[in-house]
Amino acid sequence: MKTQISTTGVSGKGRNRRRMFELYSLASIPLLLVFVFAYIPMFGIIIAFKNYKFNKGIFGSEWCGFDNFKFLFVSDDFPIAVRNTLMMNSIFIVVGILAALTVAVLLFNIKSRNATKVYQTILITPNFLSWVIVAYMVYALLQPSYGILNGILQSVGLAGVDWYSEPGYWPVILTITNIWKHVGMDSVVYYAALMGVDESLLEAAEIDGASRFRKVYHVMIPTIVPLIIMLTILKIGGIFNADFGLFYQIPRNLPVLYETTDVVSTFVFRAMREIGDMGMSSASGLLQSVVGFVLVIITNYASKKINEEGSLF
């Protein structure tokens, strides 16, 4: 910046120093907040290697090496939580992207702008709700004695199902719930990308006699493939972080369902808040952070390789 032109009588150098001071002072409060609430907890990861006692504090508690991690893998619960996290997030990634892409392409083919807007608004609405409210809705559908779903099953002569005590159904229920909440918002990104598809390509295809399906398959999808790949890779980077709200609220934290609904984030929470085992909780939390970190680095590197523009950072 050209600060040499000075009309205030202060020399260019002095002025520059004043500018720097002003800018650093603007940066100070935000950076301090980040330091306190993001960096100090990073040093707290040493708790994972300690036998933490509230009355002794972090520094007073004794070291215990990798004991906390040993307990983690000896227990049955943690490996199950890891399995559920990876399995459910993989399903969410595949089904979620397919659903969002389909909705975006179909929406793009609707001619009436007003209709498109109405559909989009409706599809996005669930995104504004908290998981608590969504849990109420799922409950209204699945409640064993009064729920709508059992009502329908019974009206066609089938037996009702006690949904809240059968873990087998929950991968499907959670997938549907997750798609229901996110498909609208996710499709917005693809829809915007489709709006950017070169009109002349679509016209050329039309003149060549391409059917609607062929236009989608040969023109639209290929142009947004880089975006699809990028978003997929980003999601893979977060595969170890399950949505705590979804897995805690929708199955209502019922122990009967843990077999299929317990994920790493709910496990970490439960170990700390309900069991009160700080060692086990911090050890699993540390594993989650470290694996997440490595995955993000790898996937970001991969997306950079695939597409220079595609990488996020």
Binding site: A27, F37, L123, T125, S130, Y146, S289
Partner: protein, 294 residues
């Protein structure tokens, strides 16, 4: 003939989206329908999408006992608004600094923020810091302080600020205006779209917050709206399972619990659902802002 052929796919597509939209709306309608039903009908016939008899008893019960819900509304509104204002202000401050081309230490500051997106200390260290060292447990500031700076939005704002032509601020620089003045009187007014987007996202996230209460709040006067709702879903249930206690059972029988529960959900979710569709374009903008490069 040709025209007709073109219309048919449009009709099919529209029907498809009407079905899809109904699937999205149905759970909403179901909750509303149950809240308007007669408790006895529900106990006998279960939840129905169309109430057999319209009954406002549940709402009457909710509004006759308004203290808890009003208090939760107040607490949630306070911390949501304070969070939104402080968050946007502080994030704009750091984003403004990072948008300067010639500032020493800029890339270090960027990395300082960016790294927190890659790695975090996790739940236990954060919990211990907040409860044992900062003593923020059972304090309304616990809703506000920890999440004020989100690097993602900072980078989004910075991208926007960088796009403001230098010529606009140049005159102010020549006039000897301070950076504070430039930030407050030139940059902020020019950045309304991005500030509005970030403000809405922050507000919504806070409005829907339930886990902060669950982790850090024991005083029921400080519960957030969503957490209160979560407790109600569980609490009524707990009472119902406790068949040994006849007094409780008797007290419970006076509450139309099934319908009250859903009426509570309507009262909590309603305002947001009515207001937020009007701000939809900001949310869409926020998502499609595109390459938010660190």
């Amino acid at each position: 003939m040709k025209k007709k052929q073109k219309y048919i796919p449009q009709i099919i597509l529209n029907i498809l989206f009407i079905v899809l939209s109904s699937l999205i709306i149905l759970p909403f309608l179901l909750v509303v329908a149950v809240s308007l039903s007669n408790e006895r009908d529900i106990l006998e016939y279960g939840y129905k999408l169309i109430p057999m008899n319209i009954d406002f008893a549940a709402y009457k019960y909710v509004f006759d006992n308004p203290t808890t819900i009003l208090n939760a509304y107040k607490v949630t509104a306070i911390f949501s608004i304070v969070s939104m204002v402080l968050s946007v202000l502080f994030m704009a401050m750091i984003a403004f600094v990072l948008s300067k081309r010639d500032l020493k230490g800029k890339s270090q500051m960027s990395f300082f923020l960016y790294f927190t997106m890659l790695f975090n200390g996790g739940l236990v260290p954060t919990y211990i810091l907040i409860t044992q060292y900062l003593h923020l447990g059972d304090n309304i500031w616990v809703y506000i302080l920890p999440g004020l700076i989100s690097p993602w939005y900072v980078f989004m704002m910075r991208t926007f600020f960088t796009g403001i032509p230098y010529e606009i601020t140049e005159a102010a620089v020549i006039d000897g205006s301070s950076e504070y003045r430039i930030f407050l009187t030139i940059i902020l007014p020019l950045s309304k779209p991005v500030l509005a987007t970030v403000a809405l996202f922050t507000f919504l996230a806070k409005w829907n917050d339930w886990n902060t209460s669950m982790l850090y709040i024991n005083n029921s006067k400080l519960f957030s709206l969503q957490y209160m709702l979560q407790r109600i879903l569980k609490n009524i249930e707990l009472l119902q399972m406790d068949t040994s206690n006849l007094n409780l059972l008797k007290a419970l029988s006076e509450i139309p619990s099934e319908t009250v529960r859903m009426a509570m959900a309507v009262v909590v979710a309603g305002p947001v659902l009515v207001v937020f569709p009007f701000f939809q374009k900001y949310f869409v903008k926020g998502l499609t802002v595109g390459s938010v490069k660190g």
